[in-house]
Symmetry: C2
């Protein structure tokens, strides 16, 4: 009871084989130079080397974690592919026939982190998934250690139940009565969206499963011109054809115009197509726009179309009493994609597709493989989830999310989301009247996305026209390249439609503060001054 | 230099903030009861609690690792779903609005492992993926800590290059000149097989991508009646229809009969179908059979069909000079699935699809999303892999594999595979003439699969006939159920075709020894004695 934490920790961690006395532990780092993977468990006497090796790895990782949150550390140490391929000092990516020592393996671990990108750094704003949640990280470490597979209750009893309970909770937040319905965690939002298209097709044309697309009429699907490209990928993969995905026009804020949907539905019907599926986006990738779900749902009901809500990015707002109104109508959807690995800060990968009608996932995907899903097991095999999936083996993506939810509570996610949206409001207020900035669209941010052009002093006097546009188009890539070279921060940019390259700032990192927003703006101005 | 490892480890791990003296570290476990997730980084003064919490998690995990390799530990502590759902003492799966203390989170971590299944235990034989490789585990821990995404070089420079080099090495082992070609790591063998079907379709009928399946003639695909169900799932998902997947007959060892393929190709053509794709399995799920690739390749060439080799399970044998002949002809394949997470003991998930012709993956899947794959980046964007994938975000599955390859060398994988196949030979020799055993097929095992019936004494005198078959059908499930209840070992069973339930023993665990095989047989006989 009175022993120090240090003593206790090391005693427990290294108590594996202390029968030989402390001599066993008198090792310096150099000792790993004579140790190889074959000396680790299950090798005879492998317990002690195993513990020492893992502890050394943990030291590398915890050092990395500490530095990740340290603003004096760079976000990245950029090198071009050819530089890394040629080999940095002591870091050779080539694989060889003979084993390397564990010392070299530890060096490789350090170098892998050194030349990587700190996605948890408070100034990493480059993607929708940022941040390093400590409880989530612990959850991932445990998941790796358990090293099992979601397909049967038999080998993942706890994880299968956690998935079931968590999916139910998510469906409750969507607003489906008693959280009824179905769902599955998939390897990312693109696959979740693909599921939604597959399930919709199965609902309306179940014979496609056995007979192929010739069993269905000529089908068309609808999605916003601003939606994620995964809907298009799904149309290509599943045999619909990308030309049969009809893009919907949006308003100046990037939201689908419902009247445009209805007009295009009518037009398609007149041409002999059968409108089957509409994707409404809750939080578009670039603008963070929320399509008007209720109006879209009205049209879906009227024309008997499947309504999917892609809330990969915006789904997290359902956890916030302040912001969930942006998804009003989501309870009318037939299916919903929601990626906790984006706005909710769960480590990658963690994406769910939720389905209102029970049985469709199973019906759509089941192949009843007798060697995996034996009906004569001693437990209730309805808990075996494998036959619902398009995958066979399925990674355990649930545990980290479940553990974070336990640790933060629903209120913790709500605070996180409200804070990130507050920060984007701060950025918006900061730049909306600031010299040298132009917002891509007017009005308060809908999500944490703030899209803007930075106009370097040298361009400010130019009249609007082709020359200015061409020069402005090059500004964001140049600033971004300098940012990466200096390693100070990272933010994304892209063109959109007829708009030249602009910055897309997004905030999902729980470590970011107003000072980091200030830093970003200072950095853009510092680097862009002479462009 | 002279300090003990214990001291050094704890000093380094906890050196984060020792300015306040040792008082900071005088904590007992109970202290976590007043700590919450909000006290961890990025919280102010969060560094020390973070390190303490992570170290405590590591202690739980390393204890689990040690016990996993300890044969006096059970493989599992079985509970029915309703038991776990009702809540075990102190372990409540339900999620709540308010946060739990970190103490509870640590208890949850312990309980999650306690009620799970030790897939790394030397006596866990239940799946094709078993074992807990320590270097692979370290690799997963690092991957979780890096928490990034494979879609662009920009945010995963090192991992993207590792993937590229490793895929090239795998293609070399397949036998493609200079390792040329393409490939990608995907979330499991089912998705890798799905890729192969998509790419084949794109190669022959590229218009399907834009126009849908109506742009192709009536297509048929071929695979063994013993092949993995993922080929069928792909046919359902991609719009071919499962009825257009033609199952090929096999010989008594479970290998495709080439003449049957040719006959069915001719028959399909006569009916007006276009034969497009043949899947040859290298290591079937149940029998471990290797289809004769060369003879199948001859037919594919003759009729201009895509040849895919599903080596999810058997691909690992390419690493063994002794056993790789079983895949002779694999170099003639157009695509190959190979799951290092199966026979090579890499932690889940790690699956690759390799493609002989460069450009097809990109052509098939690219949608050129400007917001992710900006052409005006400062580096060579051909390293951005995202547009090759059907996913958008993609988990980093490469690092653990790369690190294991470094640590073991190619020779280390070879030794692992040779050892597992030796063990299956040992099992085969042990039971082939043993009283109470019948092998499902004659002859030395092709892979590590050994399929057999155990005939309890009470059934041995029965004449072959319906009664004996019906009773024998119930033997394996009963023994398996008792095994799980007692937690001593786990092995799979299933029926196949007209064969009643039999055990399928597979060995991929590097911790398994002959004594574990002996134990399994003793256990089957002990539990099955009175059936």
């Amino acid at each position: 009871m009175g022993s120090s934490f240090k003593e206790r920790a090391s005693k427990n961690l290294l108590s594996c084989d202390n029968t030989g006395g402390d001599a066993h532990f008198r090792r310096t780092e150099n000792d790993f130079s004579n140790m190889y993977a074959r000396d680790l468990l299950p090798a005879k006497n492998g317990e002690e080397p195993t513990m020492q090796f893992l502890l050394e790895v943990v030291e590398i990782l915890t050092t990395y974690v500490r530095k990740t949150f340290d603003r004096s550390t760079k976000v990245l140490d950029f090198h071009h592919p050819h530089q890394l391929l040629e080999g940095m000092e002591g870091f050779n990516l080539e694989l060889s026939d003979q084993p390397e020592s564990l010392e070299q393996i530890l060096v490789d671990c350090r170098d892998t982190l050194k030349y990587g990108v700190r996605t948890g750094h408070p100034r990493f704003f480059n993607q929708l998934s940022t941040g390093l949640d400590i409880v989530g990280l612990a959850g991932e470490w445990l998941t790796s250690t358990a090293n099992t597979n979601m397909f049967t209750y038999e080998i993942a009893p706890v994880f299968v139940l956690m998935e079931q309970l968590t999916l139910k909770k998510m469906r409750e937040m969507v607003g489906w009565p008693n959280g009824e319905g179905d769902g599955i965690f998939s390897p990312g939002g693109a696959i979740s969206n693909m599921y939604s298209v597959m399930i919709a097709r199965y609902k309306y044309f179940p014979d496609v499963k056995t007979k192929g697309m010739s069993a269905a009429p000529r089908l068309v699907l609808f999605t916003s011109e601003h939606s994620h490209y995964s809907i298009k990928k799904a149309c290509a993969a599943l045999g619909f054809g990308t030309e049969n995905l009809i893009l919907l026009s949006t308003d100046e804020r990037g939201r689908v115009i419902p009247a445009d949907l209805e007009a295009k539905v009518i037009e398609a019907k007149q041409k002999g197509y059968v409108p089957m599926f509409v994707n409404a986006t809750a939080g578009t990738t670039v603008y963070g726009a929320f399509d008007p779900i209720n109006e879209i749902a009205d049209i879906c009901e009227k024309y008997n179309m499947w309504l999917h809500v892609d809330g990969a990015w915006g789904g997290g707002l359902l956890m916030s009493r302040k912001h969930r109104h942006k998804l009003n109508g989501v309870e009318r959807a037939n299916s919903v994609t929601w990626n906790p690995h984006k706005m909710m800060g769960v480590p990658l990968q963690c994406s769910a597709v939720l389905v209102k009608e029970r049985g469709l996932l199973q019906g759509c995907n089941s192949m009843c493989a007798g060697y995996l899903f034996q009906p004569d097991k001693q437990y209730d095999t309805s808990y075996d989830t494998g036959d619902k999936a398009i995958q066979c083996g399925r990674h355990v993506d649930i545990f980290k999310f479940w553990l974070m939810w336990k640790a933060k509570g629903t209120v913790g996610f709500e605070q996180h989301i409200d804070k990130c949206l507050d920060l984007s409001g701060y950025l918006y207020d900061k730049i909306k009247n600031r010299e040298g900035y132009e917002l891509v669209s007017e009005g308060e941010p809908q999500h944490t996305n703030v899209c803007f052009w930075y106009i370097p002093p040298g361009l400010r006097g130019l009249p609007d026209g082709q020359e200015r546009q061409e020069r402005l188009h090059k500004v964001a890539p140049k600033i971004k390249a300098m940012m990466m070279e200096s390693g100070t921060t990272m933010v994304g940019y892209q063109p959109q439609g007829d708009k030249v390259n602009f910055f897309r700032m997004v905030i999902s990192n729980h470590a970011a503060t107003r000072s980091d927003i200030d830093f970003l703006i200072e950095e853009i101005e510092r680097l862009g001054l002479d462009l």
